[in-house]
Amino acid sequence: MSIQENMQGALQGALKSVDRPVVIAFGFIVVMLLAGSLYSSSFLSANYLLQQLQVAAFLGIIASGVMLVILLGHIDLSIPWLVTVGGMMSTAAAGWWGPEYAIPFGLFCGLVFGLINGLGVAILRVPSMIFTLGINAVAQGVMVLHTGGFAPQDHASETMRWLAVERSFLNIPNAVFIWAVIGIAVVILLKRTPLGRYIYAIGNQEGATFLSGVNTKAVLIACFAISGMCSAMAGVLLAGYSNKGYQAMGDPYLLPAIAAVVLGGTHILGGRGTYLGTVAGVILISLLQSILSVMQMPEAGRQIIYGCVIIGMLLVYGRGQRVQG
């Protein structure tokens, strides 16, 4: 009896610690919308909200992959140019072999770079922060060479535009459905598959997970590969959205993606976090950016508020433990 009670207590404790950031993040979203609606009533219109979701979808897809990597206790700094690789290689493939090859080839290129990230981190044991940084530089080099050397097609295929811009069902943007599909896949992966358990386990104690017989290298490689593909997918959609794949198109997405994951309650050192939190973080960041731009806040003020909000929110619920022996 008492054991059961203990377990219940522990379970409740765990639920509480996981859910608090999510609740606060969603609460902050509501507060922002209400505050925005005082400024202009259009903030609560369905059209504005759907528009926000569409923009958030790009960030959400990237954040899905980044979250897996952060849960492992690693980080992926190659996001900017892997997004660009996805966008530019898909448009190029459309030009070389025909539009039906665009999306698969873009994703394939993201997968290849993601795999290299995983191999470097898992096999060579180079700290992920620095290895993914190097891959980012290599991807940039490849893209510069690719654009300058081969003059590839840079406009998006019909399907890419349709996926990124159109609203074919209930006036909901197609990009949101793609985010939803990826999100559900990530939730199933984390909650219902052994791989998901291993991800959390590695984030907590990699050595112990290895000793329990888990192929930790394969888990690391898989997560970096998924992250690479997610970035490339976002690149494909972004290329469809702006009708063009161009250099440095992924640059504005690195910091928001990491910030969204962390604001959603995922611990930056790994092992803890929920996908619902990441969704909250993504919406929060997108909404914050949108409201600041609607209020015609100059870029300087936007950056300052943006930074202060991240620090402020984390001070409320993201604080670490006091150091003890």
């Binding site: 980080i75 700094l77 470097g120 096999i123 060579l124 044991r125 180079v126 700290p127 922060m129 620095i130 290895f131 940084l133 190097g134 891959i135 980012n136 530089a137 290599v138 991807a139 940039q140 080099g141 490849v142 510069v144 060479l145 300058g148 050397g149 990699e206 050595g207 290895f210 000793l211 640059d251 910091l255 990491i258 910030a259 962390v262 930056i268 050192l269 100059p298 870029e299 300087a300 003020g301 936007r302 950056q303 300052i304 508020i305 943006y306 930074g307 202060c308 991240i310 620090i311 984390l314 001070l315 993201g318 604080r319 670490g320 433990q321 006091r322 150091v323 003890q324 022996g325």
Partner: protein, 326 residues
């Protein structure tokens, strides 16, 4: 003798970085049309010292087991501040210089206070404060411009006694006045202790908070010094996010190439300086070997990737695989 062996063993990374740099620089000079002349060295030094100072700044938080992703933005912010403050009569210039350096240190102190008292992770803290510092830089200088006292700037970017580049003297001064005393102080040694084992450091009575705050504050100060030097090189201020981001990322690469562990507790700023010199010399080599411009970014990326992967050699020497997970 044994002591020497031990010291050499501990400083392997630094020694390797120094050797590699001298080999690369010799190769550069040998292929440079003008050869080893004062202007060639001065130009190389002026470029390299900026990154070297930022890399020194990055080293301090890394030693404590943290990271400072805002060094590049502090660099940009102090550049913008210097472009409007360091001009006029000598007194104004002196005050302006002091204000610029203090602003850098203050930015670092804010990072330190949030990390220590706010107990937030350094990565995400400095990511966010970096955005704030960039915002402040934009406020100070919405469009590129401003100016700086020309006599002083000329002096700082040319040579002392027409032989030694002034920027190298500044770098040496930063090492002698800031880095060495800090490393040998109680607070500085505390940084190494915190980076090695925070819990053990706490139990032995190391002032953890003070060490960390000192590390971040000095990082801000050094980034501020780099921002000041940038102003002397460019004669203007520019709030450019790409420049800030590039310097932040290159500073991490320089720290790693210089033999400092990203997990903290081992390494030092001297290694980072040579790490930064190596990165800069790569660019110079591409120039003298006349590599097609289209290939340059790819080549730089591959060299960077190989350089940071060199540490992987240890993976293949390890007998007990559990050591990999430390």
């Amino acid at each position: 003798m044994n002591d020497l062996k031990l010291r050499l063993g501990q400083n392997q990374g630094v020694i390797l970085a120094i050797v590699v740099f001298f080999l690369m620089f010799t190769l550069y000079i040998a292929n440079h049309p003008a050869g080893l002349t004062v202007p060639v060295v001065t130009t190389a030094a002026n470029k390299a010292v900026l990154l070297a100072l930022v890399a020194m700044a990055q080293t301090l938080p890394v030693l404590t087991g943290g990271l400072d992703l805002s060094v590049g933005m502090v660099f940009i912010m102090t550049n913008c501040l210097a472009s409007s403050m360091v001009s006029g009569d000598p007194l104004q210039i002196a005050i302006g210089t002091a204000v610029v350096l203090l602003a850098g240190a203050l930015a670092g102190l804010v990072n330190g206070v949030i990390v220590v008292y706010g107990r937030l992770q350094p990565i995400i803290t400095t990511l966010a404060t970096g955005a704030v510092y960039y915002g402040i830089a934009l406020l100070l200088r919405p469009v590129p411009g401003g100016d700086v006292d020309e006599e002083l700037a000329d002096f700082m970017t040319y040579t002392v006694f027409e032989v030694v580049p002034t920027s190298l003297v500044v770098l040496l001064a930063a090492v002698l006045i800031i880095w060495l005393p800090f490393r040998n102080s109680v607070v500085g040694r505390g940084c190494y202790a915190v980076g090695s084992a925070e819990g053990a450091a706490y139990m032995t009575g190391v002032a953890i908070g003070r060490s960390k705050m000192a590390a971040y504050t000095l990082a801000g100060l050094l980034a501020g010094l780099a921002g000041l030097m940038l102003t002397f090189v460019t004669f203007s201020g520019e709030a450019s996010a790409p420049i800030g981001g590039t310097y932040t990322l290159n500073s991490i690469a320089a720290v790693v190439i210089g033999g400092t562990s990203l997990y903290g507790g081992a390494g030092g700023a001297i290694g980072s300086i040579f790490g930064a010199f190596i990165l800069r010399t790569i660019d110079d080599l591409l120039f003298v070997f006349d590599l097609p411009p289209l290939w340059q970014p790819l080549f730089q990326g591959v060299v960077l990737l190989v350089a940071v992967s060199l540490g992987a050699a240890r993976v293949f020497q390890i007998r007990n695989r559990l050591e990999l997970f430390k």
